[in-house]
């Protein structure tokens, strides 16, 4: 029966080529726009570390003054002062913990006559690599003693290793960072979590190429590497010793294995804030412990424009669906007489309904295929845009399949009204008119 409907539908679509083309084109444009924007949205709001994100947490406390504080309604500060970060780190209440500060390092190539260049740099502590599952190509990270001793050791990204050492094993070699010698302890494999969860509010980018240089926080500070973002909450007299200044510029991440350890860390954090309040160091006792995805949501990492585009594309798809409803209706009512004949010869209402739904589905599938072409064109356009996530915009298998789901659902919804109108048509007047 289905094969027969298919044949009928194809015949009907062929009979009026202009109308069919218009329908498919409009639906394809709507689907193309929707899939393009949804691909980008999905990409930008994705989970950067799917295997680990549920165990990673971002503690927040609030050293800001009382002014402007509403108990229970004010969010804690996004970053921490250096003393607070170190207190949390040294307490070792989590399985792993790391402090993070972003900066820019001047790297001097070894070749003669070459110019130095700036690279995105992460100043952090030993647990960073294991906690974030950063994979090593050669060597490994540094240890906690190197953190305390401000050892001049460094881990570099694979693209920097390619640039400086032609991709060979450079562990043990020396590179010059900000005019100081650092020994390479490890080289990462290509690693660039998207979105870059650990760079939020630290002055880094959210998407795009990974960071190039990783070094112990104290070592970086010892050679006067400045943080990418500083937020001060009181008058500052000495910016050269940021560690003691009333300024926030450090992000802290902790890894917590199970519900019990999460609960106990929350309690520890709350107690820490209360203790600081009783010492009059803090005026606010608000704390927060968001997990990785929660922190990304809190930071609204997905640009507003991308969400607006997705909304707009849905509006556009809706217009295209209404348009398809109208055109399908026009097509099927034009065939009133044919329907009358089929009904008179014994076709049931549901048979007519099914016939027209199959026709709608064919339009939908054709719209889906063409929509896929439009989506690829749209993504090609996005890859040529100046946005930092541009190079990531590619269609994956899930979105490929989803395109057809959208196409089918949209066309079936569009087909319901015309098919219903067709099947409730009384056969007698149609035959009489003939």
């Amino acid at each position: 029966m289905f094969a027969y409907y298919l044949d009928l539908a194809l015949r009907s679509l062929k009979r009026n080529k202009v109308l069919t083309t218009l329908m498919i084109l409009a639906l394809a444009l709507g689907i193309g726009a929707t899939i393009t924007t949804l691909t980008v949205l999905r990409l930008l709001s994705g989970d950067p570390l799917p295997q680990k994100s549920a165990q990673l947490f971002y503690p927040q406390i609030d050293p800001n003054p009382k002014d402007g504080y509403v108990a229970g309604e004010t969010k804690p500060a996004p970053t921490m002062t250096y003393p607070d970060a170190m207190n949390l780190l040294h307490a070792r209440r989590a399985t792993r913990q790391a402090a993070i500060v972003l900066s820019q390092a001047k790297v001097m190539p070894l070749q003669a006559n070459s110019h130095p260049f700036f690279s995105d740099t992460v100043m952090t502590t030993a647990d960073f690599f294991a906690m974030f599952d950063a994979p090593f190509q050669f060597g490994g990270g540094w240890n906690a003693n190197d953190d305390e001793g401000a050892a001049q050791e460094v881990v570099i990204a694979s693209f920097l290793n390619d640039k400086l050492f032609g991709g060979t094993n450079s562990v043990g070699k020396v590179i010059r960072i900000n005019d100081h010698d650092f020994r390479i302890t490890g080289v990462l494999k290509p690693w660039a979590p998207q979105p870059r969860f650990y760079s939020q509010d630290l002055g880094g980018r959210s998407y795009g190429d990974g960071d190039a240089v990783f070094l112990p926080l104290k070592s970086g500070r010892a050679i006067k590497m400045g943080p990418g973002d500083i937020e001060c909450y009181a008058a500052v007299s000495d910016m050269d010793h940021l560690e003691a200044a009333p300024c926030m510029w450090v992000g802290v991440w902790v890894e917590l294995g199970d519900a019990a350890s999460i609960a106990s860390f929350k309690e520890y954090l709350a107690n820490y804030a209360k203790q600081q309040v009783s010492l009059s160091r803090f005026q606010r006792s608000e704390t927060s412990l968001l997990d990785l995805m929660g922190w990304l949501r809190d930071q609204q990492v997905v640009p507003d424009d991308v969400r607006l585009q997705a909304g707009l594309a849905f509006g556009f798809l809706l217009i295209c669906v209404v348009n398809t409803v109208g055109l399908l209706l026009a097509k099927c009512l034009r065939r009133s007489r044919e329907i009358g004949v089929r009904r008179a010869l014994g076709a049931t209402r549901s048979a007519i309904f099914a016939q027209f739904m199959v026709e709608a589905a064919i339009v939908g599938m054709a719209g889906g295929v063409l929509g896929l072409v439009f989506a690829e064109l749209g993504l090609l356009g996005i890859r040529h845009q100046p946005a930092e996530y541009a190079s990531l915009a590619h269609l994956d298998l899930a979105m490929f399949l989803f395109t057809f789901v959208v196409a089918l659902v949209a066309s079936l919804i569009a087909g319901i009204l015309p098919a219903w109108r067709a099947c409730v048509l009384a056969p007698a007047p149609q035959l009489k008119a003939a």
């Binding site: 001047k106 130095p116 507003d304 594309a313 348009n323 109208g326 026009a330």
Partner: protein
């Protein structure tokens, strides 16, 4: 006209579904169009924000990774080298530029007890400028004076985040914000441990990042010797046609005489274009969506009206046979479309305002000005009339003899 409308309503009642679909399509198109055009206009007005410097004549090279302690001798030497390039009319250093995204902000109040955390203070972007910057940038001082040699010589940057000086030049918008309706010259702005007296007011210069108070810009004098190397932007004024050559020469020159540092040259137009690149590509995307959407809507109306005309060939034939002219038939379909468009536009306006209210709540969007609605209405009326023209002509071409044929 009145005579024409009644039969139209009668026929619409018989064809509720196609009529409703046209109304719905126009309503959706109107709602999306108004909001999209509004978003485009907001972006376009941001992209064209005025900025009181000679944007078209400026070239800059950033020099980073220098030795801070040598700034006192390095900066004058570098500037002298840049002034030696053919076509450079003047050169000076500054800590950041408008729209460079490199922002150093601080909050100031108008009372001596103002602290950085006061809710009443104003956040200001700080520019630490070297001698000659007013001429190089083409600043327009509208009141008072710009910095003199003493101001530059007596200013320095210690370990504090603010310079040791007492002179400041603010933009017109900023003094109006801090001291509304009062003469600003001689007024003092405060933050704990520092105070600065306004010696001059300049035309509005943009901040390094826009959003909110776009012109909260303050210039502080800073001589090279006490600058701690914060003045990384070397700015040159030249004829617009020399810019590309001077960028290359200046970058090469600074890289050669500062082998340990990183020099990067740009024209000011490039900085501005880069800053607004995302915004302008979004605006173009919105334009594309609007055009395609209007095309889809128009084709939808053409399709539905054609079908409708075909269905009523007999009625048209009868009307023609009893004396209606081609013009009557044309006008009938045009009036019908006008009525449907009007209904669509009315629903569309309500929907447009609803969407706008939602966007205002969830995104940084302003209220849509009222005149978007009549403009959107006119646009859709025109689209409706254009798309009905073809089918209406075909309807008018139906010969009266059709009436005599059976079906």
């Amino acid at each position: 006209m009145i005579m024409e409308i009644r039969p139209i309503f009668a026929s619409m009642r018989k064809h509720m579904i196609p009529a409703t679909l046209i109304v719905l399509e126009i309503a959706l198109a109107c709602a999306v169009l108004c909001n999209a055009v509004f978003m485009i206009s907001q972006r376009v007005s941001d992209i064209h924000l005025p900025n009181a410097i000679d944007e078209q004549s400026l070239v800059t090279v950033t020099l980073r990774g220098t030795d801070d302690k040598l700034a006192g001798s390095d900066v004058p030497r570098n500037l002298a080298a840049l002034r030696g390039i053919a076509g450079v009319q003047s050169a000076a250093v500054i800590s950041t530029l408008p729209l460079s995204t490199n922002n150093w902000g601080w909050s100031f109040g108008t009372k001596p007890e103002s602290t950085i955390t006061d809710q009443s203070t104003t956040n200001v972007s700080l520019f630490f400028v070297g001698p000659g910057i007013d001429k190089t940038l083409g600043l327009r001082v509208v009141q008072g004076r710009f910095f003199n040699d003493d101001d530059y010589a007596n200013s320095s940057l210690g370990s504090a985040p603010l310079p040791e000086t007492h002179a400041v030049v603010l933009t017109k918008s900023l003094v109006e914000k801090m001291w509304p309706g009062q003469p600003a010259l001689g007024k003092t702005m405060y933050t704990t441990g520092h105070y600065y007296t306004v010696v001059g007011v300049m035309a509005d210069v943009l901040r390094p990042n826009i959003g909110g108070q776009n012109y909260s810009t303050a210039f502080f004098p800073l001589g090279a010797a006490g600058s701690k190397g914060v003045q990384a932007y070397y700015v040159m004024h030249c004829d617009p046609q020399d810019r590309d050559r001077i960028v290359r020469e200046a970058e090469l020159k600074l890289a050669t005489i500062n082998p340990g540092a990183v020099a990067k040259g740009q024209t000011y137009s490039e900085i501005r274009t880069k800053y607004f690149a995302n915004m302008s590509s979004m605006a173009w995307m919105l334009v594309l969506v609007c055009v395609v959407m209007l095309a889809v809507t128009a084709f939808g109306i053409v399709g539905l009206t054609s079908f409708w005309v075909n269905q009523r060939r007999r009625q048209i034939g009868v009307r023609r046979a009893v004396g209606a002219t081609r013009g009557h038939i044309m006008r009938y379909f045009q009036t019908e479309n006008f009525l449907l468009s009007t209904a669509g536009v009315v629903f569309g306006m309500a929907l447009a305002f609803g969407i706008n209210a939602y966007l205002m709540q969830h995104y940084e969007l302003n209220r849509m000005p009222w005149y978007y609605l009549p403009c959107g209405a006119i646009a859709l009326w025109v689209i409706g009339q254009l798309s009905v023209f073809g089918p209406a002509r075909r309807a008018a071409a139906v010969p009266p003899v059709v009436a005599t044929r059976s079906a």
